[in-house]
């Protein structure tokens, strides 16, 4: 290790030496000049003046003047927002006046496209540019949310949990496993951008096709999102403040559509369920007054006593240290019952503040920012508190020929720990808001939490848990994170046309989490459990080391840029956790693990180290601003795959080429005269990328391990001694390699009538050798199944974006932008013995079947066609064992006259037909108004919450009004309410009621008004008198409405952690296990201030 570090150090020195020694020093003189607008002839303040091909530049001052050191022959590039970029070649020492033409298009915008940057008009690949001003309007703690609806081809699914990352797909779901794109933040490659302060972001571009993204090779298969952060600008020092304060409101009403306690008791009698009838000793519809449970030493009460006897109160006893002595009494909730959802979802404040300072001179620039975020979640105990600091600096020496600097930020954040998607399962706090029966009061008669423990006649009230108790107890859970990310870089011009660049960057991440487990005395089953505590720590680090050389030259009409590079990446990590139980006190200021009794030995995990090594090159060539060629090639080596041996070939190395072509038709003579056509570019590309999917570093190997609970055995007899054993832990497959994504892209960009920009693209992405865990029969044993190249996938779609913008007059201007994303996935091949595999867990069968000829993630189950109206009907025709009056009728798909597993079919596609975003902006004098809409059309949601709420046969808990109002009522084997759509209340039948079927599938289409913002900019003339450059204040509403037919909380559903390994696992999605809603209204008041 030390040796290789030394070697790397030496190499770095060599490179640096060679940069410095190769400098070509030429004479420079200082030029001054002025920039004016061609329309009003007024000075342009803050225009960028840059020497072409370098980062050397300045900005014009308040009079439009600038001064810069240039050599004769240098080209100055002058740009300012709203004006076309102009290039001026410096001749001698003259004073230069540069007149900028107002621009109706942004063709000259420089776009960061990975290792290089290009003018928008020179781009031949598919690159979506996010309008950062629009994107930033949505208050968020996770910057990925900025992408939603802002770029065509990008599908973003957000969670409402503060700080939770989003699920991002570029051009459809590209695989069964991880489908998160690669994020490149100031040149540092990383897995997400959630921690970047939105106020620090300068630009976001999305590299969608191979022409743009293939330069990232095996890391770029899911698309690439390139983020740059703001840099200081030479000139005046500015300080700005951006902040808002607001409030967020929970969803209102009976969100789960639950019946009240009285209705629930009537249902028990309708079902004839003696055990449940016993909960209502007064009969159907009569709610007992008190419930109790406790030691036998206390007199017990008959049914009548429980209904009315206040004597029971005198026996109330709560013993925190010995729950065995408890005698708990609670008074039941009547009327509507306890609205559990609103015991834990509350209106909450939120705030975010960023102070940014920047400035510099032509030798150095700096930008620093300090950010503070405090967002309370509407769900009690969820919050995200962040303190962030960023420092970006640039220095230049040796007459600007050598430049170096850094970009970096540190984040310290706190939250409640572990809820990045964990609300999406049946055991979560949110799930308990429908699983806890409404008859249970929030508190018992002694002021302690109510729960299932003290039921009528001591019987349990279901196996739900008090969500309010869980939420309050969770307040003492804490997760602290320290996260550092950034890079340092050095850059040198070499000879006239070469620039050498080296950058070393990466991330350091440390998480510490502790959790106190309180005795759940309010639960029936775990009433006596001891308290507990656990702690864990995680440490991760990784680095990217990137070295590039760029050759750039213009001769005649030829414009050429060649990039060559070498890159390596490596990551390491460790994880540690320990727990104990039985603490004397759970005071968070007291608990240390050694004060309790350990139950399990502490565990530590070495996170598999990974490394990648790459060589890459790119060519960009433009002829006469008309014909554009881009080509790239990258060779990657990945440590995750088998390095090869005598009999098996090396699987680590892969090569990824791409080529793209563009033709700016509008530059041709035959179109020069067409005045309405401002610009038209046709382009196409083809290339290959790769992805290493969910392959872990042990994937190639069959390995063994042990665990006290999985391989140890008491072979000596006795009650307390065990002997170590081993088991096969992983089944290896050394023949696995990366998946290849072949992307074809054609499209055009046009600007017409000076007001209208449109871009349309069609793409096809073929994924060969898709990586996913192999579906194997259990006959192979219990080792973890390997990830293999399971099959091929094809995605096709259209990306459409258009903007109409107009300045109607001096006072009024507006723009309207929209983008539409369509994709169609199709699994074209699976290599296993079956042409499908099932995933998406439930209490019944798997919900999802990924099958050849179908899109990823399609729901699979029985097709409900009605309800059997009589026992006789249920016994004839295509039927199944246990079918009765009031059971579901299923479609006999294979027509064999009986209903069995072979009649399951595809019952819904969670992939939208299209998603769309609409951005509307208008300004009138000093007022500005903007709105952002986002929608998804044609996707189906699987409302798994109904498993718990709609069927009597599933666990006791909150039950839906649908079961009460639309449930079949069976008398003497005949349904007496023929319009019923929900199976009869019956208690032992999965088939016919809660089995996975089309009953759960709902239309998940929606349109959300994500933002409406009204702002006012104060008169700069007035402000200057008090030293302020700019002051903008606004009021904003978020999620003002959601239009949908979906009956759950929110049709926008993040993938569940219950599905396999993590948030990005996409083999199953669109399943609602009770997700944290992301359609809650927010109102904020914000300020942007610069001085």
């Amino acid at each position: 290790m030390f040796k290789s570090l030394l070697l790397k150090g030496r190499t770095l020195c060599l490179l640096l030496c060679c940069m410095v020694s190769s400098l070509v020093v030429t004479a420079q003189t200082r030029h001054t000049g002025k920039v004016i607008g061609s329309d009003d002839k007024l000075p342009v303040v803050g225009a960028s003046v840059r020497i072409k091909g370098t980062n050397v530049g300045t900005v014009t001052d308040i009079n439009g003047d600038f001064a810069i050191n240039v050599s004769p022959g240098n080209v100055l590039v002058v740009s300012y927002i709203g004006y076309g970029t102009k290039e001026v070649t410096v001749q001698g020492t003259e004073y230069i006046t540069i007149s900028l033409e107002p621009a109706n298009s942004t063709l000259n915008e420089v776009v960061v496209t990975g290792y290089t940057s290009q003018r928008k008009k020179d781009i031949s690949g598919s690159v979506a540019i996010v309008d950062i001003a629009d994107a930033k309007k949505i208050p968020t703690t996770s910057s990925e949310q900025l992408l939603q609806g802002q770029a065509s081809g990008v599908t973003v699914i957000n969670s409402g949990a503060p700080g939770a990352p989003s699920t991002v797909f570029i051009r459809g779901v590209g695989g069964f496993g991880q489908t998160a794109p690669l994020y490149v933040i100031d040149g540092v490659q990383t897995g997400d951008m959630s921690l970047v302060n939105p106020n620090d972001i300068e630009s976001i571009t999305v590299l969608k096709d191979a022409g743009a993204a293939a330069i990232y090779g095996v890391s770029g298969g899911n698309g690439v999102i390139v983020v740059t952060t703001k840099k200081g600008k030479a000139g005046k020092t500015t300080i700005s403040y951006d902040g808002y304060y607001g409030t967020q409101l929970p969803l209102s009403g009976n969100v789960w559509h639950l019946m009240n306690p009285e209705q629930q008791s009537q249902l028990a009698f309708r079902a004839g369920d003696k055990a449940t009838e016993a909960l209502y000793p007064g009969g159907a519809g009569v709610i007992p007054t008190y419930g109790y449970h406790g030691t036998t030493g206390v007199p017990v009460f008959g049914a009548a006593g429980v209904t009315s006897d206040p004597n029971i109160l005198q026996y109330y006893k709560f013993d925190a240290s010995n729950p065995g002595n408890d005698f708990l009494v609670q008074k039941f909730a009547t009327g509507a019952g306890t609205d559990w959802f609103h015991t834990v979802f509350k209106q909450v404040p939120e705030q975010q503040h960023t102070i940014t300072g920047s400035g510099g001179n032509d030798k150095s620039t700096y930008l620093f920012s300090l950010g503070y975020v405090n967002q309370q979640g509407t769900l009690i105990s969820t919050y995200e508190k962040r303190y962030q600091a960023r420092v970006n600096t640039n220095f230049s020496v040796l007459n600007n020929h050598v430049r170096f600097g850094e970009n970096g930020f540190v984040t310290y954040k706190e939250n409640n720990g572990g809820y990045n998607g964990s609300f999406q399962n049946e055991g979560s706090l949110i799930a308990y808001t429908y699983r806890e029966m409404p008859i249970v009061p929030q508190f018992d008669v002694g002021g302690h939490y109510g729960g299932a423990y003290d039921g009528p006649t001591g019987e349990p009230l279901g196996n739900g848990s008090n969500p309010y108790a869980i939420a309050e107890n969770a307040l003492t859970n804490n997760a602290h994170f320290v996260y550092v990310q950034g890079n340092i870089f050095a850059e040198a011009d070499l000879a006239k046309y070469f620039t050498l660049h080296t950058s070393i960057g990466g991330q350091l991440y440390n998480q510490y989490y502790w959790n106190l487990g309180y005795n759940p005395y309010y639960d029936y089953e775990s009433h006596g459990n001891p308290n507990s505590a656990s702690e864990n720590e995680q440490m991760l680090s990784n680095y990217n080391w990137t070295n590039t050389i760029v050759y750039k030259e213009t001769f005649g009409k030829h414009n050429i840029q060649v990039l060559g590079g070498y890159e390596q990446k490596e990551s390491h990590g460790r994880f540690f956790s320990a727990s104990a139980q039985g603490f004397f006190s759970l005071d968070p200021n007291y608990v240390q693990l050694q004060f309790g009794t350990p139950v399990n030995a502490p565990t530590s995990t070495i996170i598999q180290p990974q490394a990648t090594e790459s060589f890459f090159a790119r060519l960009d060539y433009t002829y006469n601003d008309k014909y554009i060629l881009g080509a790239s090639i990258r060779r990657d080596g990945v440590s995750l795959f088998y390095p090869g041996d005598a009999s098996i070939k090396d699987q680590q190395w892969g090569t990824f080429p791409s080529v793209s072509l563009a033709w700016r038709v509008s530059q041709e003579d035959f179109l020069k005269g067409v005045s309405w056509l401002n610009d038209l570019k046709l382009r196409g590309s083809y290339g290959e990328l790769g992805y290493y999917g969910d392959v872990g570093g042990t994937n190639a190997y069959s390995l063994y391990g042990s665990g006290t609970g999985s391989t140890y055995y008491g072979i000596n007899g006795g009650n307390n001694s065990i002997t170590q054993g081993f088991r096969n832990t992983t089944i290896g497959n050394p023949h696995v390699s990366w998946q290849t994504d072949k992307i074809t892209n054609v499209g055009f960009d046009a600007s017409i009538f000076n007001h209208f920009d449109v871009s349309v693209e069609w793409y096809k992405k073929v994924v060969n050798g898709l990586l996913f865990t192999q579906a194997l029969p259990s006959t192979v044993g219990g080792g973890g199944f390997p990830v293999v190249n399971v099959g091929d996938l094809e995605n096709k779609g259209w990306d459409f974006s258009a903007t109409y913008h107009d300045r109607v007059n001096k006072d009024f201007s507006f723009s309207l932008g929209t983008n539409i994303t369509t994709y169609e996935t199709n699994i074209v091949k699976e290599n296993g013995v079956s042409p499908f595999f099932d995933t998406g867990g439930s209490r019944d069968a798997n919900i999802v079947r990924d099958q050849v000829g179908h899109p990823i993630g399609e729901f699979f189950g029985y097709q409900v066609t009605g309800i059997y109206q009589s026992d006789a009907a249920a016994a004839s025709g295509a039927t199944y064992s246990g079918a009765k009056a009031g059971s579901f009728i299923y479609k006999d798909v294979n027509g064999d006259g009986k209903i069995d597993a072979n009649d399951r079919t595809f019952i819904g596609d969670p992939n939208p037909k299209f998603t769309y975003g609409v951005n509307a902006n208008a300004s009138f004098r000093r007022w500005d108004l903007s709105m952002v809409f986002y929608g998804s059309q044609g996707n189906k949601d699987f409302n798994y919450v109904r498993y718990w709420t709609d069927f009597y046969s599933t666990f006791q808990g909150g039950k839906s009004l649908d079961l009460y109002n639309k449930g079949a009522i069976v008398v003497n084997g005949v349904v007496t309410n023929p319009g019923a759509t929900v199976p009869a209340a019956s208690y032992s039948q999965a088939m016919g009621s809660s089995a996975i079927s089309s009953y759960y599938v709902e239309d998940g289409s929606f349109l959300k008004c994500r933002v409406a913002q009204l702002g006012y900019t104060f008169d700069p003339g007035v402000l200057r008198r008090v030293g302020i450059d700019k002051l903008h204040v606004y009021v904003q509403g978020t999620n003002l409405f959601t239009i949908t037919k979906y009956t759950g909380l929110d049709p926008e559903i993040i993938p569940s952690l219950a599905n396999q390994s993590g948030r990005n696992t996409s083999a199953a999605f669109g399943i609602d296990y009770g997700a944290y809603p992301n359609n809650q209204k927010q109102y904020i008041l914000g300020v942007n201030l610069t001085f």
């Binding site: 055990a275 009548a304 296993g832």
Partner: protein, 624 residues
């Protein structure tokens, strides 16, 4: 170009240096695991064998839900038969209900978990067999290697038998089946009893008669399991000499001669692994595993009484309670009518079902204080009843007088499980404080996979089938005679309010147990073969009640797959049970309205997920 030559030279050097250094960069060895090579020695082999043993308890943190995979088969052998109800609330564990009432469909999660768990266990045993030839360091002698293989084949036989009992038509997975070989889509063309018998035969021939560690299988354990396989295979004449050898010569792994001691010792962690333990599954607690090596299969099966509130599953049936009634001769009322209903069900044992504990401390029917307080019945009962089920007013180990229905969750059945429950006084050493659903649910009570009484009663079956009825009677009487020892009965507490003070010598109820043939007309020869057969079956029901065997015994008896009791026997018995239960209990909500379908419900369906994954290689069982 010349002026760049220096750069090019330096650049090339840099690239070369990098290429060299990065050869190592991509070489990342797998972390946190052992490679197969590390295990290729004696310690590794021993460890793999322990790993294969560790699946016996039917619970692993690696896979499965303990009560769905458990070897005690309380779900598959217990609640699916006339032994017990699922228990708890009617809608708790909703996927267990269709198993209880025979409306199971092949997608049920329970049956898939049971299947997968045992397949994993089989491959652990195969890992041992595959490892032996890889050991080249001389640490393992040929004899030691052969013994390890014999032990592994014993385990492989046990795990296959678990599957064969459930599904009958299962793939046989030997050591040649591996991922690497690609031959893992093993079909299920039919029963595999011959293969299981071959494994046990090899184990029997390769294992010593005693072992240094009591948890290991010895020759006799293998012989007993072989006999069990023959019983399932209906090869009574082949089984008979094995059973006789076991009864005559059999010793436990520690060398103790097989014998019938105190009945309750089989269900008490402090007295486990006694002379009756032909093969026991070892359970341990407080061993650093957080309870994970305890008897987790039964972790839901504690009464929802005053000392625990979780979880009230596996409640003994009314029919099982009735079966313990004895006639004037102390013999069971075992005769079945044409509908399969046992005579004992015709005169049901009074229970506290329907009585409610009133504020005056009395149990009264229907909750009205004017009713008659419930008192435990005084009629004569087989003494095994109160070691098999918790009954109102009878000492429940040392926890106090059982609360009957008030201790059952859901309050619809009067009995509570007891064989898996630990003594209060032994809680500190035989239960684990780790929290499952509740604390102390992991216990050190071992599971008796085969106990000596089992062996004796199998021989009785064999004798019945070979028409040696007197010999059959003698074996049945051996088992019954043990319970004539009043010291082995449940006795009253010295002080009902302080159970820890111990027991008197007064029987807790009117226990009587007689021997067949003691009174004229009650001997097997007089009764004839059919009645003798029924008497043996009933003896197994009583002796082994609540031990997870009943469903599989009924399946074995049924003529459908070659059993001697006539085709449809199982359906008749279970439909008779459900009809009786409906009448006696006023309709158990889970059973009500359901029937057992002959020709279908004798077997569990092959799990649909496995059929799906094996793409046509697995054939579904008839009727599903």
């Amino acid at each position: 170009m010349k002026k760049y030559s220096k750069f090019i030279a330096l650049g090339s050097l840099a690239v070369l240096t990098l290429t060299y250094s990065c050869k190592k960069l991509l070489n990342k060895v797998p972390v946190g695991n052992l490679s197969a090579g590390v295990l290729a020695n004696k310690a590794g082999l021993d460890g793999l064998l322990i790993g294969a043993y560790s699946m016996l308890d039917g619970a692993s943190t690696n896979y499965g839900t303990s009560w769905e995979t458990s070897i005690d088969n309380w779900v598959y052998g217990g609640i699916a038969s006339d032994d017990a109800y699922k228990g708890s609330n009617t809608t708790d564990q909703p996927t267990a209900a269709p198993i209880e009432n025979h409306s199971l469909d092949p997608q049920n999660e329970f049956i898939n978990e049971k299947w997968v768990f045992n397949m994993q266990a089989i491959q652990r045993a195969n890992d041992v067999i595959r490892e032996v030839p890889l050991i080249k360091d001389g640490s393992v002698s040929a004899a030691y290697g052969a013994e390890a293989i014999a032990e592994a084949r014993f385990l492989r036989g046990v795990y296959h038998m678990e599957l064969a009992k459930m599904y009958r038509n299962v793939p046989y997975v030997d050591e040649s089946v591996t991922y690497g070989a690609g031959n893992y889509n093993v079909p299920n063309p039919g029963p595999i009893w011959d293969k299981i018998e071959a494994d046990f035969t090899a184990a029997m021939n390769g294992l010593p008669t005693t072992q240094s560690q009591i948890g290991r299988a010895n020759k006799y354990a293998a012989e007993a399991l072989l006999a069990k396989a023959y019983m399932f295979d209906h090869k009574y004449t082949t089984a008979l000499p094995l059973l006789t050898d076991l009864i005559t010569n059999g010793v436990t792994s520690s060398g103790a001669k097989y014998a019938l001691g105190p009945y309750e010792n089989n269900f008490n962690a402090a007295t486990k692994n006694g002379p009756e333990a032909v093969f026991n599954v070892q359970m341990t607690v407080q061993d650093g595993s957080g309870g994970n090596n305890g008897n987790l299969g039964a972790d839901l099966n504690f009464p929802a009484g005053p000392y625990t509130s979780c979880c009230g599953f596996y409640q003994p049936s009314i029919t099982l309670g009735n079966a313990f009634e004895v006639d004037a001769n102390g013999l069971p009322k075992f005769q079945r009518d044409a509908n399969g209903v046992a005579a004992s069900d015709k005169t049901p044992l009074p229970t506290d079902h329907g009585y409610i504990l009133a504020s005056n401390g009395n149990y009264t029917l229907g909750g009205s204080t004017s009713g008659t307080p419930f008192t435990p019945p005084s009629q004569a009962l087989d003494p095994r009843i109160d070691w098999t089920l918790g009954r109102y007013g009878i000492p429940y180990l040392d926890w106090g007088l059982c609360g009957g229905e008030q201790w059952s969750r859901g309050d619809i059945t009067p009995y509570n499980p007891i064989k898996n429950v630990f003594y209060h006084s032994q809680q500190a050493s035989t239960a684990d404080n780790a929290a499952g659903w509740a604390t102390n649910q992991a216990t050190a009570n071992s599971y008796n996979l085969v106990r000596f009484a089992d062996v004796i009663l199998w021989r009785a079956e064999c004798y019945v089938e070979s028409s040696q009825l007197a010999l059959a009677q003698a074996d049945v009487n051996t088992v019954r005679a043990r319970m004539q020892n009043t010291a082995y009965w449940v006795h009253t507490y010295v002080d009902n309010s302080a159970p820890s003070k111990g027991f008197t010598s007064t029987p807790a109820a009117n226990y009587q147990i007689g021997l067949y043939g003691a009174v004229a007309g009650t001997d097997f020869v007089t009764m004839g073969q059919a009645a003798a057969r029924e008497a043996v079956y009933t003896e197994r029901q009583l002796e082994l009640g609540m031990e997870g065997h009943r469903f599989f015994d009924l399946q074995r008896y049924d003529g459908l797959y070659g059993g001697p009791a006539g085709s449809g026997y199982m359906a008749k018995v279970l439909n008779g049970y459900m009809a009786t239960d409906d009448a006696l209990l006023g309709g158990n909500p889970v059973l009500h309205g359901h029937t057992f379908t002959a020709g279908k419900n004798e077997l569990y369906p092959i799990p649909q997920p496995q059929i799906d994954i094996e793409a046509g290689k697995l054939k579904q069982n008839p009727g599903y």
